[in-house]
């Protein structure tokens, strides 16, 4: 039993890996109908969700399971894991009908599970090496997934581009890790934090090395979360990948980058906060502004959603320079809500792709007549992304932006500008979100009904319920985010007046 106790925090990954290894073999047993594969791939995800939800929402004691020195399953990582698993459920539900004409279904689901494994490892990692392994596992699976439609030029181009950029960003991250190791003599994130805290004063020379490492981290992980100016790959890859995979990249893979950023910047190199605070604040503002401005001119819905993701990454990034527990709570909350609204929006696009309607914005014209369910869900997801109450996106933006405003409680600080930039950008983003709603509800279009494939319908309905429920009653989720932020980052100031 000792082994079991030591490994309990790693069970989710073990289950995921086991199912991923069986799936390709199972593919051979099925003749025509490949749908059972999706049900099979859902088993580990539902099991892990069933394991995590009571632990997070019902148990009163804080979660803490060490797996050696490398991984910890605490509230913070469990929250991220739940985000990844939920996105996984949503996209796997939507997949069978989307890829029904393609081959290699077994590999597809196996790769999705492996990508999720990598992401959960990043969320749990206590150590830069574990973190890097997780990043790579998720990355390599995603490269293959985005090139899943081998015969399609767009898909192949997306995979190639993603692979080159991904490899480059991994190299930068690894270089940064090696520099930090050189200064601190360890790869354990917490120990790095303590060591740097002690040595900074003594060793002025090491500060410049840490600075270089910080720059490399920003660049390397900036690629992962598609932060401007490291965002160029994202629209092409989202456009070229199969739509459920675009959803996975935007809603889950990107969040993995944030998990890594939070751990590295708020624990390992927090002592150099004055060095990176302004730079990251500037990147956040640039990212949201550029993302929103470019999104306005898009004609392809997947590209528009990609640029909107870039802007949303800018919002979430506000949590870093503000750097309070409350800000992190807002960041985590927005990560969670964004996962649902963005994956939901991508699944609507996937539903339209599955019935061969198309991915241009014009294809949404008159959608309210063709499928009231799709148009209503899309409208809710887009309004939530724009931050209109009482939807989930509003609640999380409220916490996130207010955290920047509250820094002025003891006299004005420049951090308030982050909130003002965020708020102005929300107004800007409303323009292109509302335009899609206008196309769906106000413009005439084709009148033939669209039959929504039932499983995609279920996955959209799941995301829709979450967006509305979290919006109306955010209390439970906010509590978890609060515990997660306080538990994983005890050293930060609380940040609530």
């Amino acid at each position: 039993m000792a082994v079991w106790n030591a490994l309990e925090g790693f069970t989710p990954q073990l289950i995921l890996i086991a199912f991923a290894l069986v799936l390709p073999g199972l593919d051979y047993l099925l003749k025509k109908d490949k749908r059972p594969l999706a049900w099979f791939a859902l088993i580990p995800l539902v099991a892990i969700a069933a394991y995590l939800v009571p632990k997070l929402f019902l148990s009163s004691e804080p979660l803490s399971m060490q797996v050696g020195d490398l991984l910890t399953l605490d509230t913070f990582s469990a929250l991220f894991m739940l985000v990844f698993i939920s996105v996984g459920i949503v996209i796997i539900l939507a997949s069978p009908e989307f890829i029904r004409r393609d081959r290699n279904h077994g590999e597809y689901y196996a790769l999705v599970l492996l990508a999720l494994t990598g992401m959960t490892v990043v969320a749990e990692s206590n150590d830069l090496i574990a973190l890097f392994i997780g990043l790579e596992t998720a990355g390599i699976s995603s490269f293959a997934l985005s090139g899943f439609r081998k015969s399609e030029n767009r898909s192949a181009e997306a995979a190639t581009k993603y692979f080159i950029i991904g490899g480059f960003s991994s190299a930068l991250t690894l270089f940064a890790i090696s520099l930090i190791y050189g200064v601190a003599g360890t790869t354990n994130i917490e120990v790095i934090g303590q060591t740097l805290n002690g040595s900074m004063a003594a060793l002025e020379g090491s500060r410049s090395v840490v600075r270089l490492a910080v720059v490399l981290f920003i660049a390397g992980l900036g690629f992962k979360i598609a932060l401007v100016p490291f965002h160029m790959w994202a629209p092409d890859v989202y456009e070229g990948s199969p739509t459920p995979i675009s959803g996975l990249l935007a809603a889950a893979s990107k969040k993995m980058g944030f998990a890594a950023l939070f751990k590295i910047f708020l624990i390992a190199v927090i002592v150099t906060k004055t060095d990176w605070q302004v730079a990251i604040a500037a990147l956040a503002i640039i990212s949201m502004t550029v993302g929103n401005l470019i999104a306005i001119s898009q004609t392809n819905i997947k590209r528009m959603l990609a640029y909107s993701s870039i802007a949303q990454a800018g919002y979430i990034l506000i949590a870093l320079p503000v750097g309070t527990q409350y800000a992190l709570e807002g960041g985590l909350f927005h990560i969670l809500t964004h996962a649902f609204m963005k994956s939901g929006a991508f699944m609507v696009v996937a539903a339209m792709g599955a019935v061969a309607v198309g991915e241009k914005l014009e294809d949404f014209k008159g959608l309210s007549k063709r499928s009231p369910f799709l148009s209503f869900s899309m409208a809710i997801f887009l309004l939530s992304l724009a931050g209109i109450p009482p939807l989930a996106g509003f609640s999380s933006k409220f916490v996130l932006f207010s955290s920047a405003v509250y820094t002025s409680a003891d006299g004005p600080t420049w951090l308030v500008w982050l909130a003002i930039a965020g708020v102005l950008n929300s107004a800007l983003s409303l323009y292109y979100y509302a335009r899609v709603i206008k196309y769906m509800y106000m413009d005439p279009g084709p009148t033939d009904r669209i039959r929504v494939p039932p499983m995609i319908g279920i996955s959209i309905a799941l995301a829709l319920i979450m967006v509305v429920a979290i919006g109306l009653y955010p209390q439970a989720v906010i509590d978890i985010c609060e515990n997660a932020a306080a538990g994983a980052f005890p050293g930060l100031p609380p940040g609530l007046p």
Partner: protein, 517 residues
């Protein structure tokens, strides 16, 4: 009599349930109007019951602030925890300032449903959205928690965006998006101000009363936390946020576009209710919570008010489109609301609130009659019309009464309201009164001139007048009801002032107490 019955929540639930049922009607679109009518009528009846309770007991029991008396005196007060981690509660209540607007909302929504009786294009969505709009506006007028207030405030935008965008005129796309984004930016300025007030007040609660008490009233041992500079900055931001809705010059440009393109019922609700939200926000939130900030910007408010009054009137004079003329006249009349508040006198505050109520009634008549003209004649362009009284005598009678009410004919409701605003201004700025008085002449000018060119004179030959019918029953009934109320409250304005005065007294007390005046 209503101890323990959550009246406000029940009234809010009426349009919520109604809209859900209406949207889920499926193919039975023709039922939509009946659903909308029954649920909005139920809300109207209940709100009248609430108003009668106020009449019996205008200053009422200690249902006020945390049962401790204090400055505020709300009735039908309800408080429930909503988002505990952020100090957000579901708090609703009514006082003399919100009550007239609350009843106005249920009234205008019901009458708009009746007025839209022959809507057949996407009827289910039309009536469903109208009920959603009613939820939002009612919620704004009863919320006593900033977060709740903001949620309702933003909910209002979405149905109005759809109403303009789906059932609007030729330039509806532009007007709908402009309305949505313009007013959303203003809301966001308000949101930032709310966050700032929250942290500055250190109460850990988004309750409007808590923040006002801690921020600007303070106590024996805890001095008020909103300092001078903070008050001015936040008041300016709120003045912008609410001013866009009122709308004040120079933030008024969304209004004519939205009005001209909106369907008639949309215009009625937009001018009758949505504009009131701005004025209500000023007198409920900005002025009582930030009295020193308000005092520093008093002259600015007065100048903006007078500019809006005159500029709106002059622009109305220049319009060729009947509806656009009425839209610009709204800017002018809403300027009186701001002017009343800017005097910082008890009379001015009460008169400003009453002017909101009066304008809601009168402008609804005007927009409905513009709709009738459009509907029957196919155009609203003044040069194409003329001599319509021969073809539609009843419509022209109703329109004449509406125009006379709006230009301030004594005995009708606008006269009472605007006269009191001007009287309060005279108390404070004496002979500067000549500036807003000028607008009375201009207003009479554009209304009478428009009347002469559309209803009287020789019958027009620019449109086919042979098929013009008189006003239909579903158009005539709501307008007649409104005109009846316009006359009643014109003759007996004190009926309304017995509610408004105690509440205005509290706001005025705050202003004097805190050195605002």
């Amino acid at each position: 009599m209503f101890e323990g019955i959550p009246m406000i929540t029940i009234i809010l639930l009426m349009p919520i349930v109604g809209s859900i049922l209406t949207f889920s009607l499926g193919r039975r679109e023709s039922w939509a109007k009946w659903f909308a009518l029954s649920f909005s009528l139920a809300a109207l009846v209940l709100s009248v019951v609430v108003a009668l309770q106020f009449m019996v007991n205008p200053t009422s029991q200690a249902t006020g602030y945390h049962d401790g008396g204090g400055f505020f005196n709300y009735q039908f007060y309800e408080e429930h925890v909503w988002i505990k981690a952020l100090g957000i509660n579901y708090i609703v209540g009514l006082d003399g300032i919100s009550l007239p607007l609350f009843v106005l909302t249920t009234l205008l929504c019901t009458l708009s449903v009746v007025f839209s009786w022959d809507t057949k294009v996407r009827a289910k969505e039309y009536f469903g959205l109208m009920l959603v709009l009613e939820v939002g506006v009612l919620g704004v007028f009863v919320s006593l928690d900033y977060f709740l207030f903001y949620v309702f405030w933003e909910i209002v935008l979405i149905p109005m965006y759809f109403m303009i965008g789906i059932w609007g005129g030729p330039k509806k796309d532009y007007a709908a998006i402009k309305f949505f984004i313009y007013t959303h930016v203003a809301s966001l300025a308000m949101l930032i101000s709310i966050m700032a007030m929250f942290f500055q007040a250190h109460t850990g609660s988004f309750s409007m009363e808590d923040i006002a008490l801690a921020g600007s009233i303070g106590g024996v041992n805890n001095p008020a936390l909103f300092t001078g500079g903070f008050q001015v900055a936040i008041f300016a931001a709120l003045l912008f946020g609410f001013g866009v809705k009122i709308p004040i010059v120079p933030f008024h440009t969304w209004l004519p576009d939205a009005h001209v393109e909106a369907p008639t019922a949309g215009s009625v609700l937009l001018a009758g209710l949505l504009l009131k939200m701005g004025g209500y926000g000023l007198i409920r939130i900005a002025i009582p919570t930030l009295p020193q900030g308000a005092a520093s910007l008093q002259i600015l408010m007065a100048v903006i008010a007078i500019v809006s009054i005159l500029y709106g009137a002059v622009l109305s004079l220049a319009q060729k489109d009947l509806k656009k003329m009425v839209a610009y006249s709204s800017i002018s009349h809403m300027g009186f609301v701001l002017l009343g508040f800017a005097t910082f006198t008890e009379l001015g505050i009460a008169a400003g609130v009453f002017q909101m109520f009066a304008h809601g009634l009168v402008t609804a008549v005007l927009f409905m009659m513009c709709g009738v003209t459009q509907h029957k004649c196919g155009t609203r362009m003044i040069p194409s019309l003329g001599g319509l009284s021969k073809k539609m005598p009843r419509a022209s009678t109703l329109m004449t009464i509406g125009f006379l009410a709006s230009l301030g004919l004594p005995g009708l409701v606008s006269f009472a309201a605007e006269f009191m605003v001007l009287a309060s201004m005279f108390q404070v700025w004496a002979l500067w009164l000549w500036l807003p008085i000028l607008s009375v002449v201009i207003t009479a000018g554009y209304y009478l001139w428009a009347l002469q060119r559309t209803m009287f004179g020789p019958l027009t030959d620019q449109i086919d007048t042979t098929k013009i019918h008189d006003v239909s029953w579903y158009e005539g009934v709501p307008v007649s009801i409104l005109i009846f109320l316009i006359a009643i409250f014109g003759v007996f304005p004190l009926v309304m002032f017995q509610f408004i005065n105690p509440a205005a007294h509290i706001v005025f007390g705050l202003l004097t107490h805190l050195g605002g005046v």
